[in-house]
């Protein structure tokens, strides 16, 4: 009869057994996170733990920035102030016109109920998400400011992206240049509808599935069409930079440059999602709004 030798030193399972166990655990976690989005609470609670540490790490940089702000020259501030005043004057006429148009529109469409619960929330961009495989930014508003996944983010010149993950104090905005991040758009010049899809490269958006015969020119401006019920219509998304029409292919190859300073802004505005009661107008129902991209379906699932 063979007996096991007595264990002089307790060592537990062998490294191979351990690595098998932990590998299986990691793969299970990845499947749960990727397929079922089941671990948002785990992520949320871990991010609450990590938040003070991140702030501690960011503290020296933030302090430097504050000191630099304090010593900003009077001259520069005055100049900025003057420029901003001119800008406000220029925009005030447009704003008044817009208000008039809006009231006319609401009369025409018979929109008796408000479409949006509140105005946008201004958020400061904290840092670029430290993930080399995706294009995301982290902003300083989260669940405590009633941010929801799916809210569009814009800056002064156009659409920046969409909130895709909300933490307690921060949330992540996926930029429009992220691969497969899609925005329903239309051309201002002729109302042609399309889907703008991020290319995964900095400063470039693709417009796939446009036939070769489509009327698209260099310099055309794409704005959100609003048929998806997430982005309000009329926000500038991108400007066409190149159109390649090759008869050998079914679709034209169109690339565009994002209008917003997607990589270098400091503040963004997070726009509220439309209220669920505000159904899209009937006339647009037959145009079958395409739901492009994973992020959108994900955002939709988490929506109210």
């Amino acid at each position: 009869m063979i007996r096991e030798p007595p264990a002089f030193f307790h060592r537990g399972p062998s490294p191979l057994a351990r690595v098998t166990f932990f590998t299986l655990a990691a793969i299970a976690l990845m499947i749960a996170d990727h397929r079922f989005h089941a671990l948002e609470t785990v992520r949320l609670s871990l991010s609450v733990l990590a938040h003070p540490l991140e702030q501690l790490a960011a503290a020296p940089g933030a302090m430097m920035g504050r000191v630099a702000d304090y010593f900003a020259s009077q001259d520069r501030l005055l100049r900025e102030n003057r420029e901003l005043k001119v800008k406000v004057l220029e925009q005030s006429t447009e704003a008044q016109e817009a208000r008039l148009l809006k009231s006319e529109e609401s009369h025409l469409l018979g929109m008796t109920q408000a479409k949006y619960a509140s105005n946008g929330v201004i958020a400061e961009v904290l840092y670029t998400a430290r993930n080399p495989f995706t294009r995301k930014i982290v902003v300083d508003k989260g669940l405590t400011n009633s941010i929801q996944a799916g809210m569009p983010a814009i800056d002064g010149t156009g659409v920046v992206g969409q909130v895709t993950s909300v933490g307690t104090f921060t949330s992540e905005v996926t930029l429009v240049t992220e691969k497969d991040q899609s925005v329903p758009v239309m051309i201002v010049r002729n109302g042609l509808r399309a889907i703008a899809v991020g290319s995964g490269k900095d400063g470039s958006i693709d417009i796939p599935f446009m036939p070769v015969s489509a009327d698209v020119q260099n310099g055309d401006m794409f704005v959100t069409s609003g048929i998806d019920g997430t982005y309000p219509p009329g926000l500038i998304v991108a400007e066409v930079t190149s159109v390649q029409k090759n008869a050998a292919y079914v679709f034209a190859k169109i690339s565009a440059k994002p209008a917003a300073g997607v990589d270098y802004h400091r503040y963004v505005m997070l726009l509220p999602l439309p209220l669920p009661s505000a159904a899209p107008p009937e006339s647009k129902a037959d145009e079958s709004p395409r739901k492009g991209g994973r992020e959108r379906t994900r955002a939709r699932r988490q929506g109210p």
Binding site: F22, A28, V42, G61, R130, P132
Partner: protein
């Protein structure tokens, strides 16, 4: 018997265990370095400080630091880097496993050769994460991605000077020569 008479491995076995505080605060410090606001190419080339420290303790404190700690540290990194939950954990566990298998061999070498071994370990971890992300449909992020494991391995000697000397000094101070 003087410490110089011992083989490197025996010297490592004979030393006093590092204090739990040193282990904890070294991992915390590495984490703080990792969460600095890196971006762009700097982010791609950012050395994996947490992996470096975890692997260091897995090599020198095999009884207390192993794959469990690597797994937990990896989960923390996944959350802070907003990656798919589990991929840092996977890579760290594999790297720790490699170190545990080759532990005796690595300890017989000097710092220079150890750095070469670490290059293999860090490259393994980076390749694991790269393969996972490519499988999930990401694009190859650029050649700068491979600067990160090289820089991590290059930090092996500084990490040794920082972390190993306090542990050895305790032994010299405490034991009669």
């Amino acid at each position: 018997m003087r410490p110089a008479d011992l083989t490197p491995l025996a010297r490592d076995v004979m030393k006093l265990p590092a204090s739990a505080g040193l282990v904890f605060f070294s991992i915390l410090g590495a984490y703080l370095l990792a969460v600095l606001p890196w971006s762009g190419t700097w982010l791609l080339a950012r050395p994996d400080f947490v992996l470096l420290v975890v692997v260091f303790w897995a090599l020198h404190e095999p009884r207390s630091i192993g794959q469990g700690v690597a797994f937990a540290a990896g989960l923390l990194m996944d959350v802070t880097d907003s990656m798919l939950l589990g991929q840092h954990a996977f890579a760290y566990v594999v790297a720790t496993f490699v170190v545990q298998i080759f532990r005796v061999r690595i300890l017989t070498f000097g710092l220079g050769e150890q750095t070469l071994h670490m290059l293999g370990v860090t490259l393994t971890a980076s390749l694991v994460m790269l393969m996972l992300n490519l499988l999930l449909g990401a694009d190859f992020p650029g050649i700068a991605y491979f600067f990160s494991p090289v820089l991590t391995a290059a930090l092996w000697a500084p990490a040794n000077w920082l972390l190993y000397s306090p542990a050895v000094r305790r032994r010299r101070g405490g034991a009669p020569q």
